[in-house]
Amino acid sequence: LVIFVLYPIFDTVYVSFLSEGRGGFVGFENYNYVLFQKVNPLINIPNLLQGVFPMGALVHNIIWICIHLPLTILLGLAFAVLLRDVKGGTIIKAIVFLGIVVPLVVGGVLFRYVYDKDAGIANAALRVMGLGPYARDFTQFRDTALFSVILGSIWIWTGFAMIAYSAGLEGIPKEMYEASAIDGATRWKTFWRITVPMLRSTTLVVVTLTILWELKIFDLVYVATRGGPGGASSVLAFDMYNEAFQANNLGTGAAIAVILTLMTFGVAAYLVNRMSKP
């Protein structure tokens, strides 16, 4: 554990301050470089201001979280509540959950297939709805690549939120629902006044784990879009791999890794802090 996790963490921080090939100490130059100056910087300010992709991997990660987090949480909660009293609900849950179990690499394949211009069902659906002109390879265009991958990741990760909420629902004592039924509360009211507050701790954990998962996402992007076109769907983890192992800039890659880790640590620290308080 020490050799493979602890030592590398410190070494990564160290390497990220060095110039290429472990030369001299260059301070924050690597950070400055990856954040603002690279061909595809992590924050591409001109493009960001104009709303054009690529905006940079860091911004893509943030967009990813902004879209993915609320949708998976809502869908997961809705599914869990909905499927609780449906016949065959466990089978449906198992189906929705399947996305978590298959390798993310395969997930990427599934989505390339769904979005393909000729063979994909998404485009066929568009044609049926009379939106034929919009049909195209969604993963191959600058303005749609990122959003199509995000949509795919929602499909995959909703299963996790759903299962977590289902487990949380089981933890709510039946007496509370009986009491509220006697008091004449409507279903809607029961949901907001009992179910949601009782699931608060579950929500906290789901939100944190979801953000962590979103930040670390790599395989899906690698297979579905290769970060392209032109970095339009690149994310931190993917950018890190590209820099360190395709372009052989270990120092640059390390700097990206440190930025990524700082973000995950922030999220984790928040969770630990909240959990230690009652």
């Binding site: 399947l98 993310l104 784990l209």
Partner: protein, 307 residues
């Protein structure tokens, strides 16, 4: 001693049975109303939406590419065969999946059991013996859980290169072991802490060593938890792409998930072949999930419910 334990387990069992019966009695038969019907329709609609991508890949994998080029739902002409599977398995265009699957197994099996053995021992000491340094170590573990793979990969890569561990499964197995330890120790510690300490005390009085107690009492009692760990870790390691991508470079040594991007091809996309490969690669994790579903889900939600 044996009699004491047996009696205790019996009481535990009856207690659980009584508890479940109570729950059963409380469940009433619901009336069928319009809203129930709507809810059911919506629920199965969801299932369909979630099933369609899988269905597409499955159908495409069983038919020649020329037939599914314009959608797997076009049923004319229609022919079913396993040619794509044979092509992917024997490696017509890339490294054969047969060796890759075997490689994956060679990595995954030790990388599943090694960390679990280590973390079981560590978790037991965390759960039963207290000390100041342990508390700090414990906090470190919690934080380590969140470290992304990307954070360690640069030094690990240089280390492996210097030690000649690139393309070597030993390195990859150790890497997975190290990465699996934090969450497994946490998971097992919580489980061990919840076990009744009375049995162990009884055994201790009877002169059993700590290790013997661990082996004869604690491990058998925690079989469900271990099943959760095995299923989760197996699927994690099997599905891992990043570590393998960086540390296994030689084509013949590649693991199963690594073959998938290769099947994408550089210029033209043979979806049928790709689909067949995908099905082969995902069949094992899916099988594990189906077989150990209860343990898998429980393991995954253990952290989320406790809060």
């Amino acid at each position: 001693l044996k009699a004491t334990i047996r009696a205790f387990l019996k009481r535990l069992k009856t207690g659980i049975l009584v508890f479940f019966n109570k729950i059963k009695l409380k469940a009433k038969k619901p009336k069928i109303t319009l809203s129930t019907v709507i809810v059911h329709i919506v629920a199965w609609l969801i299932a369909t939406i979630w099933l369609i991508p899988f269905l597409g890949v499955l159908v495409a994998s069983l038919r020649p590419f020329s037939e599914v080029q314009f959608g797997w739902w076009n049923l004319q002409p229609f022919s079913l065969n396993f040619n794509n599977y044979i092509d992917a398995w024997t490696g017509q265009t890339t490294s054969p999946l047969s060796t890759a699957m075997l490689n994956s197994l060679i990595v995954t099996i030790p990388a599943t059991f090694l960390p679990i053995i280590v973390s079981a021992l560590a978790a037991y000491s965390f759960a039963r013996f207290r000390s100041r340094t342990k508390d700090i170590l414990f906090l470190v573990l919690v934080l380590l859980q969140t470290i992304p793979q990307q954070m360690v990969i640069v030094p690990v890569f240089t280390l492996f290169r210097d030690l000649n561990l690139i393309n070597n499964y030993v390195g990859l197995i150790l890497l997975h072991t190290a990465f699996g330890l934090p969450w497994q120790i946490l998971f097992l510690r919580n489980f061990f802490s919840a076990l009744p300490i009375e049995i162990e005390e009884a055994a201790l009085v009877d002169g059993a060593s700590h290790f013997k107690i661990f082996r004869r009492i604690v491990l058998p009692l925690s079989l469900p938890a271990l099943a959760s760990l095995v299923s989760l870790q197996f699927v994690f390691v099997w599905n891992d792409f990043f570590f393998a991508l960086v540390t296994i470079l030689s084509p013949s040594a590649k693991l199963a998930p690594q073959i998938i991007p290769l099947l994408l091809g550089r210029y033209e996309l043979n979806f049928s072949l790709l689909a067949a490969g995908s099905v082969i690669v995902m069949i094992l994790p899916v099988a594990i999930y189906v077989a150990l579903q209860r343990y898998y889900v429980r393991g995954l939600t253990a952290g989320a419910v406790k809060g």
